[in-house]
């Protein structure tokens, strides 16, 4: 099997959406377009109880075929890389399961194989996770309550790049934030293979009192679908067909 190209949106937020279309519907749409949506809810380290509205975090990821996690700031770095990896494996397993069903008939999945066969299949999945190309669009909620968490977010994104760049497959990252008065989301870092120096990334921020998670996700999805145009200039992408 050829290594494919995985596309993910990673949403970092700390609250419930309160403006515009339903983010769960947009996430479902993204999944349909071959883009997985992962969501991380970031809590303050002192926060005792789970704030209201964070159930949405799980629902968005579920609809987007991705992984969600609610964490305290201090475990953000490790969570960001874990969620991204877990979602990669999940997507690859989905593709492998589809292939298995074609070969072995309906109802077959990796879990249902006898242990010896399963052992061989999971090695293939693991290899694909190591070698596939990955595009991650990071979408950061920069509404007022997130401001003091942004230094931690920066550290976590640098750490994510460190983790993923240890793989043999290629990586592309971009960072967007929302809300933005004019365009709903604002591009902070254009597609790059490495998230290195992010010192000035979140320096100029507008802090509106609303959280348009749905519209922001939709714009992020557009940012992905607009990308093939650039890809075409570089020549036709040979991996697009693998269905990842």
């Amino acid at each position: 099997m050829k290594p494919g190209r995985l596309k993910q949106i990673l949403l970092l937020t700390d609250g419930c959406s309160n403006h515009g279309e339903d983010p769960i519907a947009v996430a479902a749409l993204a999944r349909n377009q071959g883009v997985t949506v992962n969501v991380i809810g970031v809590l303050d380290d002192q926060q005792k109880s789970q704030p209201q509205g964070l159930e949405e975090v799980e629902s968005i990821a579920e609809a987007g075929g991705g992984v969600s996690q609610i964490v305290y700031q201090k475990s953000l770095s490790q969570t960001v890389q874990m969620v991204t990896r877990q979602a990669m494996t999940q997507t690859i397993q989905g593709v492998v399961n589809k292939e298995l069903q074609q070969i072995l008939g309906k109802g077959q999945s990796i879990e249902e194989l006898p242990p010896e066969k399963r052992g061989e299949v999971v090695e293939v999945v693991d290899d694909l996770g190591e070698t596939c190309d990955l595009e991650v669009l990071v979408l950061v909620d920069t509404s007022a309550s997130m401001h003091h968490k942004l230094p931690t977010v920066k550290d976590a994104l640098y750490d994510l790049s460190l983790s993923l760049n240890a793989r043999s497959g290629e990586n592309h990252f971009s960072v967007f934030c929302f809300p933005d008065a004019k365009h709903t989301i604002r591009k902070m870092i254009d597609w790059t293979p490495e998230l290195g120096d992010m010192n000035r990334v979140f320096s100029k921020l507008s802090s509106g009192g609303y959280t348009p998670t749905g519209p922001a996700l939709k714009e992020a999805l557009y940012a992905f679908t607009e990308r093939p145009i650039r890809g075409m200039q570089d020549g036709v992408d040979p991996y697009e067909e693998t269905g990842f």
Binding site: V71, S77, Q93, P115, G119, D126
Partner: protein, 314 residues
């Protein structure tokens, strides 16, 4: 990892319950819980013949299977026992769902912190040398341990054993499982690519943890924090220069690092036993007690020298 949401319902196993394999039909009776790993719980169990084993039950079937593959490969490398031996792998069907499980050798031992309690600082060096000997073998086979940490080793009759090989990764690949305190990426000292030097860094952090059981935060300047912590512990005094050299990337393989460490452990003992006769010459009472102390130390040193030579040539 601190997360508030629990993804999948975990399996509930209690002493006395039995787990029967869906594929083989073999049965294991749970005796008690041993601990909780990255992707499941480990129990002490016995089979119908009464042999005791460790049994791990999880939810993520693929991840469990990868662990089994590693266990099969690395319970023994070149005749040396590195991890627990692999016994069995199967699925356990319950009315709540199907849970993958595997069975391995039960390693009865003591955790590193409890083993070190009441022991001298020389043991820091001895344990690290043992770890490096294991790593030498593993690296030669083309793998790195990955998630090397205090929790993943047990002391079994003064010999160090690995109990969780889930993080073992082929050299050149990306490290997938790590614990921040032992991860050189977290401290800004290198990449997360599986290279022998990745494990060597973790060894230095295990040594640091022996002196700082409660660990410490990385602060704004991680490398400076490390250097300061290595400098301010009496326990680490003999190893201070060595640790700094490790972080500067002086040692690229376990053999080099082990040699350097062995030299420290040996040298210290020699200078100590030489200095003892000259100091005992004084007359007052205080010194007499010091003399007694020195005799004890020399006795220990002799025993220790024997032990370190033994572990060095092992």
């Amino acid at each position: 990892m601190e997360s508030i949401l629990m993804k999948k319902p975990a399996s509930n196993l209690y002493p006395g319950m039995s787990v029967r394999g869906k594929w083989s039909g073999r049965r294991y009776t749970i005796i008690r819980e041993l601990g909780e790993g990255a992707c499941g719980k480990v129990f002490l169990c016995k089979n119908d013949q009464g042999d005791t084993y460790a049994l791990k039950v999880g939810t993520d079937s693929a991840r469990m299977m990868l662990e089994v593959n590693m266990l099969k490969k690395f319970s023994k490398v070149q005749g040396v026992k590195l991890g627990p031996s692999f016994i069995d792998v199967d699925d356990w069907v319950t009315n709540k769902g199907t849970y993958p499980f595997y069975v391995m050798e039960y390693i009865k031992g003591e955790s590193l912190p409890s083993f070190l309690k009441g022991k001298t600082k020389d043991w820091i060096g001895v344990c690290a040398i043992q770890l490096l000997t294991h790593l030498e073998n593993l690296h030669k086979a083309g793998y790195v341990f990955g998630d090397l940490k205090t929790d993943n080793v047990l002391m079994c009759q003064s010999q160090l054993r690995w109990i969780d090989v889930g993080g073992v990764t082929a050299i050149g690949r990306a490290i997938k499982e790590y614990t921040e305190f032992y991860d050189r990426g977290y401290w800004g000292i290198g990449s997360r690519r599986a290279e022998p030097s990745y494990d060597l860094f973790a060894v230095t952090m295990i040594m640091m943890e022996m002196a700082y059981p409660h660990r410490f935060e990385k602060g704004a300047h991680p490398r400076k924090t490390l250097e300061a912590k290595a400098g301010s512990s009496v326990w680490l005094k003999p190893y201070r220069a060595f640790l700094l050299q490790c972080w500067q990337g002086k040692y690229q393989d376990a053999t080099q690092m082990k040699l350097a460490l062995s030299r420290i452990v040996m040298k210290r003992n020699k200078s100590k036993s030489n200095s003892s006769p000259s100091r005992v010459q004084s007359r007052d009472r205080k010194v007499r007690s010091e003399k007694a102390e020195m005799v004890t130390i020399s006795a220990f040193v002799t025993a220790f020298l024997g032990l370190s030579i033994y572990s060095f040539w092992l």
